[in-house]
Symmetry: C2
Subunit: 127 residues, 2 copies
């Protein structure tokens, strides 16, 4: 599919899809006329990228971890592909992500607890 359709289907402006390509997060083919051609899987990939960006990861980090997300093939599974430095990078990124998860979970719980407490107070006050 071309960039317009991908944009409509993901809700991400074409401008941003070109930017993600520039950042090496997407690698569309090119038609003979130069138009970008995306495979069907790009829809999911873009949603994935959006989710990670919205969660506060940078394009730089996303670029580095994206090859290891969702690999049904085992191209990357050969032990030699994983240098110790790369393994360290992945482990530390996983740890950083975990920290974010904990921070966000904690505060989500606090917001919900507050809402529940007020709700309970409202009922208790008989109104």
């Amino acid at each position: 599919m071309r960039i317009g359709e991908l944009s409509r289907r993901t809700g991400v402006p074409a401008r941003m899809l070109r930017y993600y390509e520039e950042q090496d997060l997407l690698r569309p083919d090119r038609a003979v006329n130069g138009y970008r051609i995306y495979p069907e899987a790009a829809v999911y990939q873009v949603q994935q990228i959006r989710g990670l960006l919205d969660s506060g990861l940078t394009t730089d980090i996303i670029r580095r971890i994206i090859p290891f997300l969702d690999r049904p093939d085992d191209i990357h599974l050969h032990p030699d592909c994983l240098t110790p430095e790369l393994a360290d990078l992945l482990r530390s990124e996983a740890a950083r992500i975990q920290q974010r998860v904990e921070c966000l979970s904690r505060n989500r719980d606090r917001i919900l607890a507050y809402l529940e407490a007020v709700e309970a107070a409202k009922l208790g006050a008989g109104r």
Copy 2:
């Protein structure tokens, strides 16, 4: 404590502490000479703010949810303090935070699963 100590204890540049104040995330007192005076609790507050910023929340959102995090008192517990609009804001923010949590958790798991798979392959290959 003054801004320098708070900066040292949190690792956040004084420049940023002034910025957070400008964004109304912190409200230090002022000494007679104009110096900012922070209570002990500011250390935790700053760590909290940093965590949320690192998780991709904006200062604007943080400002709006911060009054509802960590309220041991019940100043805000009176039902009248919670307008329906405010309750909606909090619920929708909690939902957005939940989305981030799910996205991050999913991808953390994928990274860890990848690392484990390679580890297993390494052992299986007898090396």
